[in-house]
């Protein structure tokens, strides 16, 4: 089986081949083109040029449905499930079993049960999707892909929210599938998984294929170097660690939604404190609860010795705590407004920009100009709508918001989602400078290398609890991953 196509939108003349019975890992940073590549393979998008061949025959996929008909099934990170429908209804969406023109509910239930049993997923077919956890939804998504006996299976970070046991189950399934000649395209950020199940690795960077290498024999350092185009030390700065005054203290914090349970953390001046954990572990909710975005059920939060539990975001800003959200499009920026208006937004309440009820146009301009220079906005045109800038520059504008006013504690939630390597390095330097200037930094990230390299201390969260606190040389991938998953003892 061969697929190739040169010259694609966010991809530039990418050639990619998948053999029957192999697990081919796609490896690269966010925005390197992995997602684009698999959405082309799965028929969700069409290449602007180039072609896709299945078993040597040129095919035009056109839609996910047709791709599925050709034996290509994909599991995307963004779920393609209808939350209001049940597990079985989602499994058979678009291919419902019918009897004389009506839905055959019994057949649907029977087949759904059979699929779930074969995959070993403990799911009730009649359960509504919106009542499932993220991991369970992931299982439904995988079951959907396995329903049609695919010959090509595309998995986009399938283990991101699975437990260790579920992950083992999935690996067994993948093994069973490949031994029957199914080709698997597998996207992951986890080094251990590459070695564990991969046969070949194709490294993508900025829409180009950098190399295709053997999964078992290539070293981790070599893979990272291929992925980023530089050595690790060039990306991650060394941040001086001079812990000072205790700035943020969270004690026994429990949120109303139970997303955070009895968490206790501390952040001192002049240190970067990381929070790692799986999706849904409560790592961003803890900062959100401090900032007044999640309701606090019990526990207390202090900022420089003053209790601030349950204050609203406006009050928290005035006390010197700034939370930068993970999703810049959803919560961070006004896409249709200019960079200037976005950057100065948190500073509007107070002098010098506010003069009574009025805005000082000159002060606002001056602040916008200085922020534009400080974050090195490219192109340096603060009057342009944020939506017209690249992802990396949008992220810089989001960071600039936190510089528009005096801040003692910064909480960065996934500060490098969807940005290129250069911007990533710039953001890390930026965080380092803030820390060395005496601020306390809370760094919440799903990007493991990021928290590993930048944090002076690191909390690992699991299901709302703080499971471990590591510092200095103890912050290693093995140590952290060990706390990520459910353990028999736990």
């Amino acid at each position: 089986m061969v697929k190739e196509y040169p010259g694609v939108l966010a991809l530039d003349r990418v050639d990619f081949q998948l053999r029957a019975g192999e697990v081919h890992v796609l490896f690269g940073e966010n925005g390197a083109g992995k997602s684009t590549l698999i959405s082309l393979l799965a028929g969700a998008q069409e290449p602007s040029s180039g072609e896709i061949l299945v078993r040597g025959v040129t095919v035009k996929l056109g839609s996910v449905h047709r791709a599925r008909g050709l034996g290509i099934s994909a599991v995307f990170q963004e779920f393609s499930l209808v939350p209001q429908l049940t597990v079985e209804e989602n499994l058979f969406l678009g291919a419902e079993p019918r009897k004389r023109g009506f839905l055959d509910r019994q057949a649907m239930r029977r087949e759904a049960k059979a699929i779930l049993l074969r995959l070993g997923f403990a799911l009730d077919p009649a359960e509504t999707i919106q009542h499932l956890t993220r991991a369970q939804r992931q299982m439904v998504e995988i079951a959907k892909a396995f329903r049609t006996q695919p010959s090509v299976l595309i998995l986009d970070e399938p283990t991101a929210s699975l437990t260790e046991r579920e992950t083992e189950q999935l690996f067994a399934l993948i093994h069973a599938a490949t031994s029957q000649g199914v080709g698997v395209v597998y996207i992951t950020h986890r080094m251990a998984e590459i070695r564990r199940i991969g046969n070949r690795v194709t490294v993508l960077r900025d829409g180009h294929v950098i190399a295709t290498v053997d999964a078992k024999t290539t070293s981790e350092d070599r893979l990272v170097a291929l992925m980023t185009g530089r050595v690790i030390s060039e990306i991650y700065p060394t941040i001086r660690h001079e812990p000072g005054e205790l700035l943020l203290k969270v004690e026994g914090l429990t949120s109303v939604t139970q997303s955070v349970r009895g968490a206790t953390i501390e952040v001192r001046a002049g240190e970067v404190v990381g929070i790692a954990g799986l999706v849904g572990s409560g790592k961003s909710e803890i900062a959100r609860a401090c900032f007044g975005l999640e309701e606090v059920a019990s526990g207390r939060v202090w900022l420089r010795g003053e209790e601030v539990t349950g204050l609203r975001p406006g009050a928290m800003l005035r006390k010197g705590f700034f939370y930068l959200p993970a999703d810049r499009r959803e919560e961070g920026l006004m896409m249709l407004r200019s960079c200037r208006e976005n950057m100065v937004l948190p500073a509007l309440r107070e002098a010098p920009i506010r003069r009574g009820a009025f805005l000082s146009v000159s002060q606002e301009q001056a602040l916008a100009q200085s922020l534009t220079r400080r974050i090195n906005l490219q192109p340096a045109r603060p009057e342009r709508d944020v939506g017209h800038f690249s992802g990396g520059n949008q992220q810089k504008v989001l960071l600039a918001k936190s510089l528009s006013r005096p801040v003692q504690v910064f909480a960065f939630d996934e500060p490098t989602t969807g940005v290129d390597v250069a911007t990533r390095a710039a953001i890390y330097r930026f965080i380092g400078e803030l820390c060395e200037a005496g601020a306390g930094v809370l760094l919440i990230s799903s990007d493991l290398p990021e928290v590993l390299h930048l944090s002076h201390r690191l909390y690992v969260m699991y299901r709302g609890h703080i499971r471990a606190e590591l510092s200095g040389a103890d912050i290693t991938e093995q140590n952290v991953l060990g706390y990520f998953f459910e353990r028999a003892a736990a």
Binding site: R312, P313, G314, P325, M334, R337, E341, L345, L348, G387
Partner: protein, 346 residues
């Protein structure tokens, strides 16, 4: 923004002529309004020689002030990502309450004409603003969608106005009220026009030069980002609908002066016309985008079309057909414009 030549990539089209390129640029920068204005001018001039006369155009301005004032309030609601379907009701309720209070005060103290006018205006505007406050509480505090809240309030307010009057016009206001605020002139300029100019200027200052104005854009641009930036989004929304109610109420009193009676049946077309004026003036229905100047022009354009249709002797029933069509066309044009802008992105 990249050069428009990027648009031609892929398709084997000849390079765009400078004229089409200019039209595209104008369309992106100004929206659909200039094109509609040009079209209306050409069509109505062809129908009637009178159309382009100074006197007629002055008339258009004078007739448009009511819609301008209401549209400015509507713009605030649209800026924050909502809208107000109750502006017509507010106009009607203001008219009825204002006229009733004025007539009652005059009846009690026949000598104090200006006291009666003041009491009537305050009562009317207070009643209308109160409707806005109710909208604001519903939308901001109870999270009722602006559609349901203002639709429901429109029915409530209209019912109250009809109940108060039994559907009969309210008479008994001092003639001076109409003489000054309806037909009066200062330095040769009609008083309603002066009021509209002042309100437009204040609205411009509000949205462009005050903190609150920026909050309107922020709440409409991204309500979550605004909240995370420390803005009290609920209070901002509350003020939006209160101000919108206040402006509609001012319009209600001016219309009452013009009609010289309090009427429960005026303003029914205001929700549609004010939203149309805003959309034609390139205010985004998604919130966060809009300018005072363009909204004033949008309202003037609608006044122009109505005037032109009157001159062309088009039946009033058919006029509403034209207005509804214009509104929908303006929305389609807005979407085309968004797509054009998106295609020009780097």
């Amino acid at each position: 923004m990249s050069e428009p030549t990027d648009l031609q990539q892929g398709a084997p089209r000849p390079p765009a002529k400078p004229v089409t390129r200019l039209i595209k640029r104008l369309f992106i920068a100004l929206g659909v309004l200039p094109f509609l204005l040009l079209l209306a001018m050409i069509v109505f001039t062809a129908f009637s020689d009178n159309f382009l006369s100074v006197q007629n155009l002055t008339n258009v301005v004078r007739q448009s002030v009511y819609l301008i004032i209401v549209s400015l309030g509507q713009m605030l609601a649209l800026l924050t990502g909502g809208f107000d379907l109750s502006v017509g009701t507010i106009v009607a309720l203001t008219s009825v309450v204002g006229a009733t209070a004025m007539a009652a005060t005059l009846a009690a103290a026949p000598e104090s004409v200006w006291l009666a006018i003041a009491v009537g205006c305050v009562a009317g505007i207070a009643a209308g603003t109160l409707v806005g406050v109710a909208n604001g509480i519903g939308v901001a505090v109870f999270n009722v969608s602006p559609f349901i809240m203002t639709l429901g309030i429109a029915s409530v307010g209209f019912g109250i106005a009809l109940y108060m009057t039994g559907g009969v016009p309210v008479y008994g206001m001092p003639p001076q009220f109409g003489e000054v605020f309806g037909f009066g002139r200062m330095a040769g300029v009609p008083v309603p026009v002066i009021v509209a100019v002042i309100i437009s200027a204040l609205a411009w200052v509000l949205v462009n030069r005050t903190v609150l104005g920026r909050y309107f854009y922020a709440v409409g641009g991204n309500v979550k980002a605004a909240h995370l930036s420390g803005i009290n989004t609920r209070f901002t929304l509350f003020l939006t609908y209160t101000l919108c109610g206040f402006l509609a109420a001012v319009c209600g009193m001016l219309l009452t002066a013009r009609l010289e009676t309090g009427e429960a049946n005026i303003g029914a077309s205001m929700p549609l016309e004010s939203i149309a004026a805003c959309v034609i003036g390139a205010v985004s229905l998604r919130g966060g985008v809009g300018r005072v100047g363009n909204v004033v022009l949008g309202a003037l354009f609608i006044g122009l079309v109505q005037n032109g249709m009157n001159l062309a002797k088009i039946e009033s029933y058919l006029q509403t057909v034209v207005l509804g069509t214009l509104l929908i066309l303006a929305v389609i044009a807005d979407q085309m414009r968004m797509r054009l802008i998106a295609s020009l992105r780097d």
